[in-house]
Amino acid sequence: MNIIEIKNLSHRFADSTLGLENINLTIREGTFVIIAGQNGSGKTTLLKHLNGLLLPTAGTIRLAGRTVSENLVKARQMVGMVFQDADSQIVGETVCDDVAFGPENLCVDRNEVKRRVSKSLKIVGMLDFKDQKPHLLSGGEKRRLAIAGILAMEPKVLVFDEPFSSLDYPGVKQILKQIVSLHRSGHTIFVAAHDLEKVIAHADRLVIMKEGKVVKDGIPSQLLGELETFGIREPCASRLGMEVPSWLN
């Protein structure tokens, strides 16, 4: 089943710059998609359309068959988004309050909120931090908390905007492991990145963007050679003519 269908999507910002131009994409449920491109190529703008944070100037986006603007709350519940700056995404005064924020907004019953909070914290391995103040967490922990916060809303699609920026090596590995295991458990995954080294080995599909347009779309291993023409660094192993290994090994 196609979980996401984007047809002729364009977006013009209020100051009349063209953010996205004529984008067409269909994504099958359970796919691991990488959106690659230089800074300013429109990755974040595209991703914000998936849950209606931005609405199209022209064209349509369908989530599981229904247009996003038809039911924004449903779209936001279905598409969970982890932003680049995890610190401004965390709203609770403690870790478990933060995770409860989403389900509370959906008017989920109190006991169900508790169940979802424990479950989500367990998935990201942060149950022991339950009463910690978010401010005292490390960068990787903050990002895992942000992930738990959206998992509690039980989304089908998970969107990660530059998930590895400003993380150390163990942090990158932890987040990557998390993303891969969420993909295995059946979620559709979007990762926006300007550096593909860390994720490419796990992806099913690579979409390359430039100046608000999709310029390439296909299977990662077949596009590796062309990356540099679009201002994206080709992974080392690929330059040497080898298969890119996973960062998890």
């Binding site: 944070l53 610190d87 995404q89 709203v91 924020f101 103040k133 959206i150």
Partner: protein, 250 residues
């Protein structure tokens, strides 16, 4: 912010942790008010009860003393102000000022009562989750028709969440400017301006991102009610506290 950590919530499973916030809030008021009517014998009883309650809630004596570290100055000030201003038989005289026996007694009473209030507050804060306090505020404001209680509760938790972030930001900006020799500028207005403007800008940017992130998580004022429920245990505790207060007042 670290200085205030003595007044933080500490997770635990004591009776105090288990009580309904609204009852605890009521106890806070009852005990504070009755302490105004208390004299040495009853004050000693209250102090013992409170310290026992705090120990039961897994606060160490050391951490209780720590909480008072910053209060000592204030207490000393109040004590001397009283000791010097209340007329009576002098204990020590020096030129025009004299410390009187009555003054010492009054000063000690006032300080002791303040200590009781702070101990009660400490017992409340260290056994109550911030989310429960938020729930209690929401509950208290609910009967008033024109006050948006849910919005106020959300704002409260956002303030608690972001104050340390803004402080960190301020420290970071100040350090970055010190690294570029801002200390050589002696004009405080110049320095405040150079610190304040970037700080404000970053804070507003953060607020923008926060608003988008909240929207992405379906923020709505129509949300799950905070789970407050009072049980037999709360009513029993209320009975005990009222008995204690009666004993003190009578």
């Amino acid at each position: 912010m670290a200085e205030l950590s003595a007044f933080n919530f500490r997770p635990g499973s004591s009776v105090l942790h288990g009580l309904d916030v609204r009852f605890k809030l009521l106890f806070l008021v009852l005990i504070s008010v009755t302490s105004l009517k208390a004299y040495p014998v009853s004050l000693s009883v209250l102090t013992l009860v409170l310290v026992a309650a705090l120990l039961h809630a897994q606060r160490s004596l050391k951490s209780i003393f720590k909480a008072f570290r910053y209060l000592i100055v204030l207490l000393a000030f109040i004590f001397f102000a009283r000791a010097l201003s209340v007329p009576g038989s002098a204990v020590i005289e020096f030129k025009a000022v004299s410390i009187t026996r009555e003054g010492i007694y009054h000063g000690a009473m006032v300080c002791w009562r303040l200590v009781i209030v702070v101990l009660t507050g400490l017992a409340f804060v260290s056994t109550t989750r911030p989310s429960e306090i938020k729930a209690a505020v929401e509950w208290l404001l609910n009967p008033f028709p024109f006050i948006p209680s849910k919005r106020i509760a959300t704002m409260m938790s956002l303030v608690v969440r972001f104050i340390p972030v803004i402080f960190d930001q301020a420290r970071e900006t100040a350090d970055a400017q010190r690294a570029r020799g801002v200390d050589n500028r002696k004009n405080p207005v110049y320095r405040l301006q150079k610190l304040g403007i970037p700080l404000m800008r970053r804070t507003f940017e953060r607020a923008d991102k926060l608003a988008v992130a909240m929207e992405a998580r379906c923020y709505s004022e129509n949300r799950t009610d905070p789970g407050l429920r009072a049980g037999l245990r709360d009513w029993t505790a209320l009975f005990v506290v009222i008995c204690l207060c009666m004993f003190i007042v009578v």
